[in-house]
């Protein structure tokens, strides 16, 4: 039961409630502070950033770090690539997962238990990094857009989540549609998909987030620099900047430094997420409830 009206609280309860509110406040502030910090660094001069003078607000305000980043064509290229991987990947995922989840939810499917186990098993055991990599190489999918899009398209968790949702819809919808003459594709597209908007929205969200933030395999599988997504670009830049002499700011005349440029890149990468974030809040909360712990 959530907390009640404070008027009915005893003294001990009131102290407890205040303590909790303070602790939550501290944790919330601690969670948010790093973002404010990094934003402040990004708008600070190179010298101030490098010298560690930035605490909460920009010191020696300047947009130079951003100018450096936003004029880098590689940055924009990687942004575009991320869009390609995200949109392409999510579409392919939905195209494969939605019909499969529907099929798995139908009682008339022969070997249903087997197929479900077939999918669920992949959540518990996977062959590991090396076999996956070698497999991609054998399939000639290294260093390709298609490879990144297709090789991470299906995730048994999302499949099972959607399957459970389909199963929760009364069988009589399918039966009525069948009596009305619809075939399975029509039943899925005209009846089940419209009724499953929340669940589909949730897995779409999971797909988008995972694609947008995807780093490791993009780094391993892609060699051509023009195909790398944003996160890999970020990583490369962060690493090279901190080693690069050009960015070590020793003179106060330096407009930007490794730290401020790093911060600027980070801010640019976070912005899309921050923009979408308020809209998706209700979806992922519901989504957790749905996928929850049922596997």
């Amino acid at each position: 039961m959530a907390a009640m009206n404070m008027n009915l609280y005893s003294r001990g309860d009131k102290l407890f409630a205040i303590a909790v509110a303070v602790l939550i406040g501290l944790f919330t502030a601690a969670t948010f502070y790093p973002f404010i910090y990094i934003a402040a660094v990004s708008f600070s001069s190179g010298f101030a950033a490098a010298a560690g003078k930035v605490v909460l607000t920009p010191v020696e305000f300047t947009m130079d770090a951003y100018k450096y980043i936003l004029t880098d064509s590689d940055f924009w290229r990687s942004y575009l690539n991320t869009f390609i991987y995200t949109v392409g990947g999510t579409l392919v995922s939905l195209l494969i997962i939605i019909p499969a989840a529907y099929a798995l939810s139908r009682p008339q499917l022969i070997g249903r238990r087997f197929w479900n186990l077939f999918a669920a098993f992949t959540l518990w055991f996977n062959a590991g990094l090396i076999p996956f990599f070698l497999n991609m190489r054998d399939l000639n999918l290294l260093d390709s857009y298609f490879g990144i899009i297709i090789a991470f398209a299906v995730n048994a968790f999302n499949l099972i989540l959607l399957r459970n949702f389909f199963e929760s819809l009364p069988q009589s919808f399918e039966e009525a549609a069948r009596m009305d003459g619809a075939n399975d594709f029509q039943i899925l597209w005209k009846v089940y998909v419209p009724l499953s908007k929340p669940a589909i929205a949730t897995i779409t969200l999971f797909c988008i987030v995972s694609r947008w933030n995807g780093f490791f395999w993009a780094m391993v599988l892609l060699q051509s620099q023009e195909k790398i997504p944003l996160q890999v670009y970020l990583r490369h830049t962060l690493v090279t900047l901190s080693d690069d002499q050009e960015f070590t700011a020793t003179l106060s005349s330096q407009p930007y430094s490794a730290e401020s440029v790093t911060a600027a890149i980070i801010v640019c990468s976070i912005i899309p997420v921050l923009i979408i974030y308020p809209f998706i809040q209700k979806y992922f909360e519901k989504g957790i409830l749905m996928g929850g712990v049922k596997e």
Binding site: M6, I24, A151
Partner: protein, 324 residues
């Protein structure tokens, strides 16, 4: 009602066993009428086979002397040789123990964090404040590991980072945190909590919402405090959820979000930071020693699998809660 009648109206004497011909014709009708759902299922199954099951076939190189030129089938068997190499390799042994130690820390601090957070959120009275705090606290989950690592690296930077700035205010010398092995684990676990505790609390909040309100109401009448109710009602009622999440967590022990480790570690901190999967990454993907690395990966997966099985069985036997 006395005595159901034995004789029935219109019962057939036909034998019930279906002939093979009947079963075959049923099957043919089934395919004729239902082929569409098999078509719907096919792409997913094919995908699983091509991308997740086929690598399992390739896993056999853990037992072979693998060479790219010969391919999997033609490479000769070497039995357990690679595993012997592994267990004789100091670095691997170290990586294994690091995996265990870091996971233990994660279990000790990282696992309770979302639970405590959920319990605290449950005690917040002002709905707006609660909503606001939740919004902020869920956010880091949606930020990529690269960005999180970038922020952490900047914040702990020896010359530029805020942490050292504050240390210097208090008169301490600055520390190059991310090169110091003894600092790696705390920073790593703390980063994990920052990124995942908030989002992770959603599951527990849902479980708390499912607790029967009358339990609380009768406790209130009996004079219990919120603190007591939290321990005596809330926690016991969400115990099944906690156990399930724990089992899932244990299944992930060997994973240890190695992506984040790669982003935060460096050779100087390998001593405490290197885990099995990062070792596999370097040996396999960077140095090309595919077979030994595959053996290490297999070892990893098997240990994880066994752990989940054991955890699930124990939980089912003693707590009557299990994942399956």
């Amino acid at each position: 009602m006395i005595n159901d009648p034995k004789k029935r109206h219109a019962v057939s004497d036909a034998p019930r066993k279906r002939s093979f011909k009947q079963k075959l014709s049923w099957f043919v009708d089934h395919v004729k009428n239902e082929w569409q759902i098999y078509l719907m299922l096919a792409p997913a199954i094919i995908w699983f086979i091509v991308f997740l099951y086929k690598p399992m076939y390739g896993l056999q190189i853990a037992f072979k002397d693998y060479s790219i030129f010969r391919g999997v089938a033609a490479s000769p068997w070497v039995g357990w040789e690679h595993f012997q190499t592994l267990f004789g390799n100091d670095q691997f042994i170290r990586a294994f123990w690091n995996t265990i130690k870091i996971s233990a820390l994660n279990l000790l601090f990282g696992f309770p964090a979302p639970i405590i957070l959920a319990l605290m959120f449950n005690e917040i009275i002002n709905a707006t404040y609660k909503r606001f705090a939740q919004t902020i606290v869920y956010l880091p989950h949606f930020i990529s590991s690269v960005i999180i690592a970038g922020i952490v690296t900047t914040a702990f930077s020896p010359t530029a980072g805020i942490v050292n700035t504050i240390l210097e205010w208090f008169g301490y010398d600055s520390i190059y945190f991310l090169t110091k092995p003894e600092w790696f684990r705390p920073i790593f676990v703390g980063t994990g909590i920052w990124q995942e505790a908030g989002f992770g609390s959603i599951v527990f909040l849902a479980a708390i919402a499912g607790v029967n309100p009358s339990l609380y109401e009768s406790a209130v009448v009996d004079g219990a405090s919120r603190w007591q109710m939290m321990w005596k009602i809330t926690l016991p009622c969400i115990l099944p959820t906690i156990l399930i999440m724990l089992i899932i967590r244990i299944g992930n022990i060997m994973e240890v979000s190695f992506e984040m480790i790669i982003l935060l570690y460096q050779p100087a901190t390998y001593v405490t930071a290197d885990v099995v999967n990062t070792w596999v990454y370097r040996q396999g993907l960077q140095n090309g020693q595919y077979d030994v690395a595959a053996a290490a990966g297999l070892f990893n997966a098997v240990v994880a699998f066994v752990l989940v099985m054991v955890a699930n069985t124990l939980s089912r036997r003693y707590m009557r809660t299990s994942l399956w």
